[in-house]
Symmetry: C4
Subunit: 232 residues, 4 copies
């Protein structure tokens, strides 16, 4: 029998960091961490306040969304996470937050433009925003449809280069190679949303960052000759 | 003789959570918790700072607003709470906060529109805003008139489905089946107000959320086939 | 020889509360507490960080601004405090903060209108804003001129009814019957400024609160038949 | 062999204060402290979270940007710091933050105007904003070019009088006679940016502060007859 203790601890720590970073409120939001070699991920149980969470409360689910281990019901957004793990090769963590500024952009159905180098340090494009899900999809398997909506939006985008999205009228999702990286991207998305909100309020006509600055900042952190951080 | 110790402790804990959640300042705001079987509620005393409150300071009042037990004067808004307990069947808690964004919407005399799924997770309509109380009512029994003004606004609304309101030019009130649920709704009202404020500032023409998304999100948490949270 | 220990402790506690309430930054701002019977007040020394302040660091000054006791130089705004103590009968505390929203209104040279009942709970008029001090006054005894500018603005206002002001392009001052009441007014001024800022951003045409609501809220806290708080 | 322990401790304390003051997030931002007599400065290592920093992790670098001592790679912005130390006589500390409001002004490519006396307490001019760096410079030695861009902007400005700048589309840099003074200026820059943002949102037409008030406030803190603070 598989031992999911470490995976559940990672997922638990990711959920706790969402709470500590102030991007969730009450039982809102959820983080999961995957073990792609076993084809499973551990996710927050549904509707449990962060203060009450214990590592053993995490629910282990396979990539079709079926519960493998756990005594609680998994997050109501589990099917969305499952679609992302199935579709985005190389990711090992997903988070859904209700962070305020990112949700405001999502409610306005607007992508977050690249307005400065802080944004380009993380991704070389705007933070994309999906279309609004249509009535048929919402009345069907809603959470799976939400995942597919994100995948549709990424038809021409690389999920490892652009590790975040706004679901129109709903809110932000982010992912990463690991659970902690997904949390990091979820927290940074809120900061990019806030910076862009403040910039557009100050100067509504602000256009996008010059292409050479986008490229420079993205490459110095993520390119083959990246020189930010410590050599590993 | 009735023993109100437990009721007073609940009311006290509700008031303390208002303070911890940052939706009140100094002596502002108040929470009450009711025991409908005894026809009483316990409420914060008037003008006492939260840091000084003790459970035994709570004042027990009947649904006509008469003090049943307590050595301090009850909140100056007690008559408003009493009207709500008399009029809204099934509620067991009421809170009045001075939370900043909700108060801004109330000062602008504007209902908070349903702009996203976070809002629809809580209520299927806008957060209604009352009209401004007229001069005669204000000069009469003002706090009772405030309660009646809220009841008037709910003539065609279900108070259990829509557990919150803005009193025009004054501020937010919220309620719930219990005291803690009322606090939860009061805190979430502030978050909905903030999200909507940021969305309208970013995109003033944002229209309401599609009806199917409103229905889906409200029903998955509150409908007969709700699947959010843990089975009880 | 007079013993100012208690007065200095009160002034020190007032300054520390400014810091705890988040209305000052680094060495900015200052609070003083007066003993009108002795014609003196104790005030923060100039340019000392709040974290380093001790009660014995407070400087005792008479109402002409002359140091009576203390080894440090008093706040550079001491002469402004002195003018207010000389001119506003019945006040026993003065604070000057650099709180953000109140300073923004002052920088915009705009009075804060009465937009809701929270404001009317504290004062029955707008928070007045002075004119900008002219060149001659600024080049002369600047801090005394700042006090006189405030007094000029209060020619037709009662300082005990309207315990706060914005000095145009500079920032907020508040006062009260005691030092702690002055701090309370200074903190509330920031909250009123923030509420009004958010309201005007949401609905730029918001007009003033109906006169009957202004009167009702001000009188229920401050009138001869006030019924807010506990009987004393 | 030189002993850089004290210099590294100063630089470490400066970096930790950036974190405590909330002007950086995760590994963003960096502070350095210089010893001009030895022609070196100590700076944060690249990409290390603030929570993990120890004084001995600081990297000592000479004014050409060559590492003198340290086992970690220095901040990717090291060359920018080096240009400033070479070019701005009398400075002993440099900080680069990602503080939110200052970054919003930088992203909007707008200088922060002098709107009130709080600003004039720190500098007698607007906070200047550079032009956007052109493609050739970005593709070359980018961080050195960023430093030269700042120096170019200061052709007619005194870096000791105006100890802060916005790099267009990037973010704020600040400096001072010492490391701690640089941190102080970096934190205040965020507050000035926030005050100006709130003022312009409230009253878009707000013009600059009258020249006599600029002069008075700057001189009372920084002029030959300065009377703010304690005599030294």
């Amino acid at each position: 029998m598989a031992d999911f203790r470490k995976l559940k601890e990672t997922a638990w720590a990711c959920n706790m960091e969402l709470d500590q970073r102030g991007v969730v409120l009450y039982t809102f939001g959820n983080a999961s961490a995957a073990d792609p070699s076993q084809g499973v991920f551990a996710i927050k149980p549904s509707g449990v306040p962060y203060a009450d969470l214990e590592p053993q409360d995490m629910v282990v689910v396979d990539f079709t969304g079926q519960v493998v281990e756990g005594r609680l019901a998994p997050s109501s957004d589990t099917a969305t996470h499952a679609v992302l793990y199935r579709s985005f090769e190389g990711i090992g963590g997903v988070v859904h937050t209700h962070s305020t500024y990112a949700t405001a952009w999502a409610q306005a159905e607007r992508a977050i433009p690249v307005l400065g180098t802080t944004h380009a340090d993380f991704l070389p494009t705007e933070v994309p925003c999906t279309r609004v899900l249509d009535e048929t999809a919402v009345r069907g398997d809603y959470e799976t449809a939400t995942g597919e909506l994100i995948v549709e939006r990424f038809r021409d985008l690389s999920p490892l280069q652009v590790p975040m999205v706004l679901v129109a009228r709903h809110g932000p999702f982010a992912w990463g190679r690991t659970g902690p990286e997904a949390v990091y991207h979820g927290v940074m998305l809120e900061e990019l949303a806030r910076l862009a909100w403040l910039t557009m309020a100050l100067e509504p006509g602000t256009g996008p960052l010059a292409s050479w600055l986008v490229e420079k900042h993205f490459q110095r952190k993520h390119g083959p000759d990246a020189y930010y951080g410590q050599k590993k």
